[in-house]
């Protein structure tokens, strides 16, 4: 196993690539009571069109299938219930599907090794029948229905629909009631056999554990040593640099209008350290412009145009990238105009170096505190590792960042032509 130590936090990380192709990360946290494991495949809602290694034809599957597959992984060949197995050992299991990843996880404060074996066993034991696949339609239809009424969720997907012409990130992760009706056991097996090959998967475990023993147990529980020798070819449609639309409003029964304003970022197509550095630069830049200590935030808040619900985010991905700010406002149009006018002025006047110095401290504090919550840390780590980023490289990239890097990044962003706004208005 490779071993690395982060001298700032004092934490240590082990890595091994197994012959099955599985990437294994082990991070002991000896004083912790809890432990956590996350077993993830680089396969999310955007992967509906692909070429299976050693095949030539393109496979196209219904939208929402990655999420459907996640639900069906909990059914076992012997008819047993996965949750029951975990709860016997006090483990709390869960799973989620995002745009780019499907993850299976548990947290436990006792019987770590038994829970780990349970996790590895069920994720490597697909069992789909016509009846069991059919049964899930009702549950997922309710999940989709729940999101149809959920204002922040609709706000977000309408926003993505404005930014993107073709990128499948604009589609609902769970698909639609219609698209999931086309899913059957054969399609699920096809997706499983492609994306759940261990060479497409990563396992991250952390907590009060012994690294050698943990590795031994992981290796013993690997069922299939048959790594792909070539890449899974994922087919994404071409995405123009322009935005698909500028404004969209939907009515839902909420008390006050909600807005999500954002800018498409066309500086994409790379991952690894370059993407890590970019995402730290973005964290600093956005905090400087939109953070609670910024002049813009203070003006908008004092005038009652925004309230405490205001927040902002950058999406660090390889194939798409955007900045968004969101919140509640009686007058979203005014927020849109004020923010764009402020940015225009800031582009003329330039950023403040004093702000940069202060915010760089904030980002460092955030990095140190990110080690606190082992669940959050594991999720961040694994999400980044699928982008070929080792989170232990954070400090190296962080300390390189200068004020002129931030200024240069700023100059390439926030073109008003690439700015969109999604709104939810009370019905």
């Amino acid at each position: 196993m490779e071993k690395r130590i982060d001298k700032h936090s004092g934490e240590c990380l082990y890595f091994e690539k197994d012959k099955s192709g599985l990437s294994i990360y082990i991070m002991p946290r000896k004083d912790y009571t809890g432990s956590y494991a996350i077993f993830a495949t680089k396969y999310g809602s955007v992967d509906s069109e692909f070429v299976v290694p050693n095949e030539t034809d393109v496979t196209k599957v219904p939208d929402g299938i990655a999420h459907y597959l996640e639900h069906k992984m909990f059914d076992q060949p012997d008819g047993s219930n996965v949750f029951e197995k975990f709860s016997k050992f006090g483990g709390e299991a869960n799973a989620y599907t995002s745009f780019n990843m499907t993850a299976y996880l548990f947290s436990a404060t006792e019987h770590f090794y038994e829970n780990l074996e349970t996790l590895m066993d069920y994720v490597q034991s697909p069992y789909f029948t016509k009846e069991s696949v059919q049964k899930e339609q009702g549950i997922i239809a309710q999940e989709i229905g729940m999101y149809d009424d959920n204002a922040p969720w609709r706000l977000f997907f309408n926003f993505l629909g404005l930014l993107y012409h073709n990128n499948p990130v604009k589609l609902d992760i769970a698909g639609t009631v219609k698209s999931i009706s086309r899913i059957d056991e054969n399609l699920l097996y096809k997706c499983y056999n492609t994306f759940y090959n261990l060479s497409n998967m990563t396992l991250f475990v952390t907590g009060n554990l012994d690294p050698e023993k943990t590795l031994e147990i992981i290796k013993k529980n690997i069922k299939n040593v048959n790594p792909f020798t070539e890449e899974i070819k994922r087919i994404y449609p071409d995405e123009p640099k322009t935005v698909a639309g500028k404004f969209k409003t939907q009515k839902i029964s909420v008390a006050m209008p909600m807005f999500m304003i954002g800018w498409k970022d066309n500086d994409v197509g790379f991952d690894g350290k370059k993407l890590l550095k970019k995402s730290i630069e973005m964290e600093i830049l956005l905090e400087m412009i939109f953070g609670k200590g910024s002049a813009l935030y203070n003006e908008l808040y004092s005038e009652g145009l925004i309230n405490q619900s205001f927040s902002f985010e950058f999406a660090p991905q390889k194939d798409y990238s955007y900045i968004e700010i969101d919140g509640q406002s009686e007058n979203p149009k005014a927020v849109y105009e004020r923010v764009n006018a402020y940015i225009k002025k800031l582009k003329n006047d330039g950023l403040s170096e004093a702000d940069f110095d202060r915010i760089k401290k904030v980002i460092w504090g955030d990095y140190i505190r990110s080690f606190n919550d082992i669940e959050g840390y594991s999720n961040t780590f694994i999400t980044m590792s699928l982008l070929d980023i080792n989170y232990f490289d954070y400090y190296d990239e962080y300390q390189k960042i200068t004020f002129s890097d931030i200024s240069e990044r700023f100059s390439k962003l926030f073109d008003e032509d690439l700015c969109v706004m999604s709104e939810i208005q009370p019905d």
Binding site: I139, N150, S253, G293, K361, D427
Partner: protein, 423 residues
């Protein structure tokens, strides 16, 4: 585990060491008895105070101060536990040992929090007052935004109509509109000297140093005796209360309220925690396995227990036409428990579930503070390990006994505007 220092009759300082985390967390809680007239003032006051004080004059100065503490976090808000209405001032910083230049970060953060609470300006800023008053009204009105939370809130409101617990956490919009900054300021001066204030610190710090800071911050205040809220549980009504509300929604939200007839300090309260977990707490529960997994009626279905007020609510998001079917299934699962149809595995896995969650407080400073503060309010001061021992000793008979006391009180349902018009 916890080191409690009484600063004076009203104020306590409590330190829970947790050196393994990178941070130190502070919570200051000012507790009032729930009261209709005070509710809106309680709800707005934390937000007014965090707009500035004598030493840190405005929001931007406070934010820059926090940023210089490597992005320390600070928040103010309001919560409701049992019959208490609690003004909360919380903060978190990386611990001093991670300060690159030897700064005393926890000391500085506590200084800020104490200034905000005890050392307000001589009058509140007019513009900031109006902004926060508007924000507070918006927050009340925004309760309807998330129907899942709203349904549960409305069910509780219906259940507690004749009880002090009906006072809403966020206050009343119509009272809020009439508040003036002078009135809120007078109220602030009154409660700061006549309320229970518990200060909790969890992490890695020098508690003697912090004690000096607290003593200094309050030495100009003439304290008066504080009133402690009496606990009480919700009582039976004559008949089950059915309430339906219409919204423009696709999915119906069902929230069923049950009375437990057992209070937080009753001997049976811990058995009730286990019973509720078997019933609807987590993926091993009867509700999850029957309402969701067996009948595919819902994506979420579970129950939440309020120990202090003696009730539990069952919540599920369902197809509107499945209202009757889901309600019947929930009642059937309750009857199953009353009839003792509970397996050893269900008891075992539910115990594991609770122990696991209590164990996890060891790694989470906010959870740890919240647990001990809750115990303090209930005047129980039970250590976590005693809680665990009690859970582990419980038997099936205990579960059946407490569940047999549970009765249906309220059925609340959100249905669609157009539902029933077609077909």
């Amino acid at each position: 585990m916890i080191n409690s220092i009484s600063i004076n009759e009203n104020i306590s300082l409590n330190y829970i060491p947790m050196e393994k985390l990178k941070t130190t967390t502070i919570g200051i809680y000012l507790s009032r008895e729930l009261n209709k007239d005070e509710a809106s003032k309680n709800a707005i006051l934390p937000h007014i105070l965090k707009n500035g004080c004598k030493e840190f004059e405005n929001r931007t100065k406070i934010e820059h101060f926090l940023e210089n503490l490597y992005g320390a976090k600070m928040s103010a808000g309001i919560s409701k536990k049992g019959n208490f209405h609690i003004l909360c001032f919380e903060g978190e910083t990386i611990s001093d040992k991670f300060a690159p230049n030897g700064e005393k970060l926890t000391h500085e953060l506590l200084k800020l929090l104490l200034s905000i609470l005890f050392d307000a300006k001589d009058e509140f800023d007019g513009d900031a007052f109006l902004t926060e008053r508007q924000n507070s009204i918006t927050k009340i009105k925004s309760m309807i935004n998330d129907k899942r939370i709203y349904a549960n809130y409305r069910c509780q409101e219906e259940m507690s109509k004749d009880d002090i617990f009906s006072v809403p956490r966020l206050g009343y919009a119509e009272d809020m509109e009439k508040l003036t900054k002078e009135e809120v300021y007078r109220y602030y001066k009154k409660i700061i000297k006549s309320s229970i204030i518990d200060i909790f610190v969890c992490g890695d710090t020098d508690i003697d140093d912090l004690k000096k800071l607290v003593t200094k911050a309050i030495n100009n205040i003439d304290f008066e005796p504080a009133k402690r809220a009496k606990d009480s549980i919700l009582k039976d009504k004559n008949a089950v209360n059915f309430v339906t509300e219409k919204f423009n929604v696709t999915q119906g939200k069902l929230s069923m309220g049950f009375l437990t007839h057992i209070g937080a300090t009753d001997e049976d309260s811990i058995a009730l925690v286990l019973a509720n977990t078997i019933f609807g707490g987590g993926a091993q529960s009867k509700l999850f396995n029957n309402v969701r997994e067996k009948l595919s009626l819902a994506y979420y279905a579970g129950s939440v227990l309020n120990r202090a007020k003696g009730f539990l609510t069952v919540n599920a998001g369902i197809e509107i036409e499945n209202f009757e079917k889901t309600k019947e299934e929930i009642l059937l699962q309750l009857d199953e428990m009353k009839n003792g149809n509970i397996s050893d595995e269900e008891i075992e896995s539910s115990k594991n579930f609770i122990i696991n969650s209590l164990n996890s407080y060891d790694d989470d400073q906010f959870e740890m503070i919240s647990y001990y503060h809750g115990e303090r309010l209930m005047q129980s001061d039970m250590e976590i390990r005693d809680y665990k021992d009690k859970i582990l000793r419980l038997k099936k008979d205990d579960v059946v006994r407490v569940m047999s006391k549970v009765t249906l009180d309220t059925v609340y349902f959100i249905t669609g505007v157009d539902y029933g018009k077609e077909n």
